[in-house]
Assembly symmetry: C2
Homo-oligomer: 576 residues x 2
Amino acid sequence: MRLSTYLLPTLRQAPSDADNISAQLMQRAGMIRKVASGIYDWLPLGLRALRRVERIVREEMDRAGAHEVSLPVIQPKELWMETGRWPVYGKELLRIKDRKNAEFCFAPTAEEVVTDLVRREVRSYRQLPLCLYQIGLKFRDEIRPRFGIMRAREFLMKDAYSFHVNDEDASKYYDVMKRAYTNIFKRCGLKFSAVEAQAGAIGGSFSHEFMVHAETGEETIVACSGCGYAANIERAETTANGDKSDFAPEEMEEVATPGKSSVEDVAKFLKMNKKRFLKTQLYMAGGKPVMALVRGDHELNEAKLSGALGGVEMHRATEAEYETIAGCAVGYAGPVNLPRFKTPEGKMEEVRILADLSTEALVNAASGANKKDTHLKGINMGRDFTAESVLDLRMTLESDPCPRCHEKKARFTKGIEVGHVFKLGTKYSESLKAEYLDVDQKAHPMVMGCYGIGVSRVVAAAIEQGHDDWGIIWPKEIAPFVVAIMCLDNDEAEVKKAADELYEQCLEAGIDAVYDDREGRPGVRFKDIDLIGIPFRVVVSKKTVADGNVEFKRRDSKDLEMWPLAEAFSRLRTML
Amino acid sequence: MRLSTYLLPTLRQAPSDADNISAQLMQRAGMIRKVASGIYDWLPLGLRALRRVERIVREEMDRAGAHEVSLPVIQPKELWMETGRWPVYGKELLRIKDRKNAEFCFAPTAEEVVTDLVRREVRSYRQLPLCLYQIGLKFRDEIRPRFGIMRAREFLMKDAYSFHVNDEDASKYYDVMKRAYTNIFKRCGLKFSAVEAQAGAIGGSFSHEFMVHAETGEETIVACSGCGYAANIERAETTANGDKSDFAPEEMEEVATPGKSSVEDVAKFLKMNKKRFLKTQLYMAGGKPVMALVRGDHELNEAKLSGALGGVEMHRATEAEYETIAGCAVGYAGPVNLPRFKTPEGKMEEVRILADLSTEALVNAASGANKKDTHLKGINMGRDFTAESVLDLRMTLESDPCPRCHEKKARFTKGIEVGHVFKLGTKYSESLKAEYLDVDQKAHPMVMGCYGIGVSRVVAAAIEQGHDDWGIIWPKEIAPFVVAIMCLDNDEAEVKKAADELYEQCLEAGIDAVYDDREGRPGVRFKDIDLIGIPFRVVVSKKTVADGNVEFKRRDSKDLEMWPLAEAFSRLRTML
């Protein structure tokens, strides 16, 4: 591609609303332009990178035996009613009415439509397993679109869905897909981890996220250098922390703590270690109160609490709800002598108490007394209150040992989620009645898996991982062009001829080369080529040609190499 | 691809709502499935054909110097307000509100967004010309979606937009694009014509439609085998038909024609040839009446009338409007003694009369008398009434001579529109202020062209052009697979080995082969392979292998050829 005729509107400064590095660099490098909040134009340079990722994804999906399809993006409400997702999906689902007032949505994902297709076309176990995938537009009406195309509303996604006769076959294919994903991100030239995304009930985990490592990532990964365990911090397991001390249980005692409501303040006031507190949080879950307890120095992990409660609608209790349930303000509530509450039906029930594993070792703990300006000391679980269950409810700390090998080798790193593989089970096949007949003509729901990659997000993640002060540093596998050939002296016939020839040779050999044949000051042009991050740069100038050379440089190195002009092409070809 | 693991749900019968041949065959061949009215799943086989067309389109666009971009499908109302298209587009435009009640549409076309991009990024004449294209989803909320994917609501389109410093450059590029389109449809293996889609004002026509020839096509093409003239019948030019006779003008005379209102009936009743009638039609155009006259044996072309009236909103006058304006029912109105009408402002004005070219030669014509049950004979234009203009207003007849070379060589054929190239001029660049600075730093609106191809429609059009009683007959250029290898005796080791090997050789050589390794009755499998239309078929069976042969057949021929097994692969390779 000759830059003189290319649309490459590079910018010195990113627009002020570009709120992370990739959003800034993609705008500065002329890869994308914003049209509306979370909605972008992909310009030629950006689209080239996107297409390279897309191609790698397609090849690996094909290799994994998946078949490409194209499902509509405008999907009828009826199918989403069948699975029950229409009423619960919330405002992220872009809902549309057509000219006849029929309701549709712009698909954020395609479980309904693909399962509908399969239930109509697949009848027999002989037709299974089957995996269908597509690479296409998705729309999610994010409440706060940000980070450029990384959290855009309209984006490009690869979504795959597999159908199996049983769980065993689904698990086997899950591993095939995990390998395919590993191949994809390796081929994209990225550093990444597959992390556990959900603790498994029986038989280990059944969901993995693929995270590209980047200091600027939104997600925190807990990764153990010992046993290889890796998980999203939101889902990283914790174990009981601290052995039961052999202090003798004391009498429970009320203490006045006027105006002290935080664990910090009360601990200081009572001269007790924070670790000896039962930190109390009230939630309303499915209309009923639930109290969660974690140790004073720990933080509750809401995702884990939600999981423990079976995913019912849940919110933190309001001040008013605290007063109704515990009879006091936030900060004075506690598990001891918690009054019973009246259900909407008028029944009196105990408040459910769920306690984190690490609270079990506490002897003579402190907590709120469910009374204004008052706390309790000398609380002992079992004696003074009963928890319905004791389970993993807290956020991991960087000081925690690895939850698997128990060595102190787990570290926190930052990552960007670019893919997700998931064993769905029969959730969709049951609600949509996607059944197959077995060898005895008996019907069973198909067992499903689903597998997503944020194709446009991979482009941004690669930039978050690969950049410096001057701009993008592409892995050569997904760079929009792999070589930039720069002719610095267009008006010198001999120089121009040498550069032209090198470019033509690259084209003929199928090397993705961009030819900077523009006029203008070399300094500005060098800056552009650094900004757009082309892995290899070859400069042809009066000076180099006079010495019979070209100047070669890698984007990720400072070293300049002089190559004999006559060898330039063959060296490039060998290198690529 | 091995059919044993492929999703190929062929049907003996198409669904009852499949209303043309391609819709029937695409469903029967397992290429598409309907999800909702005008909304389809593309199954693996269908998508393969679609991708082959897409690739040809992309290569030819790149070759024509266009740059690929990806513009959002969800576009903000504001841009559509700037061009004025939001209020006038009607219900075909799918309008959407996001969670913040901001208004958007699902783009049916992208002039607004691409011109917005270009006005922001292109400043100087040095950056022009520039052509941007994309291949992506479009949505048009058709009132009556039909013909499967041929008139679907969600469909795949290639849309390109070019920007130029002046009309001359735009015209030059228009020709480049016309050539690219010709290459595309040639490479797709289709028979087609580029037809004039609009009569040019000055300097010839500036819009061409590309029509795939098919008896089942919706469009009628007027094509001259002499001079090469070709046009959509909606826009085909006509010339004056018939010389002025040398009859002496007679006196005008009222005749009673009770109950005779059609030209047919009145002509019979008066024993006059239909050709001597002035057929009269009243329209309301921009709130005012207009009378159109054509010869009694001709039909008015509303598109031409609309063009002559500058494209204002226009409808046929209702019965009530006839009574108000002409003082009589439809069938008795005529150009002579037409009363003046009162404008909404209370002014009295003459009714505008536009007459077709062929009416000019009429001497002593007949028409309505603007009086109940009465006609006039002996009407002579100029003497008895005045037409504001005499121009081309009628539909072409198959008996007409070619409007260009005037030879009697124009024929009607049927076609399917698959592409459209259009010189837009400055319509969008003016409303959106897309301007460039010339060498003297003076601003000018860019001159634009736009160029569309219905990519998914090409697939259907190819089937309308290529099929027989057994199914689809693909041109090999866009066939989902070019060769079908059928193993008829899977349980015979030697036969299976021969078929396996041939398939593997094809795969390695990059030949798009489908391997029918399914169990089941040969008859059913042969029917499937014919139905899905693979151009070349190679059968390997116990019988052929015993003779050291394979059986070769072209889809479009009945001849069976026996090829030596050892030569099968090299013959295929040579052929492809």
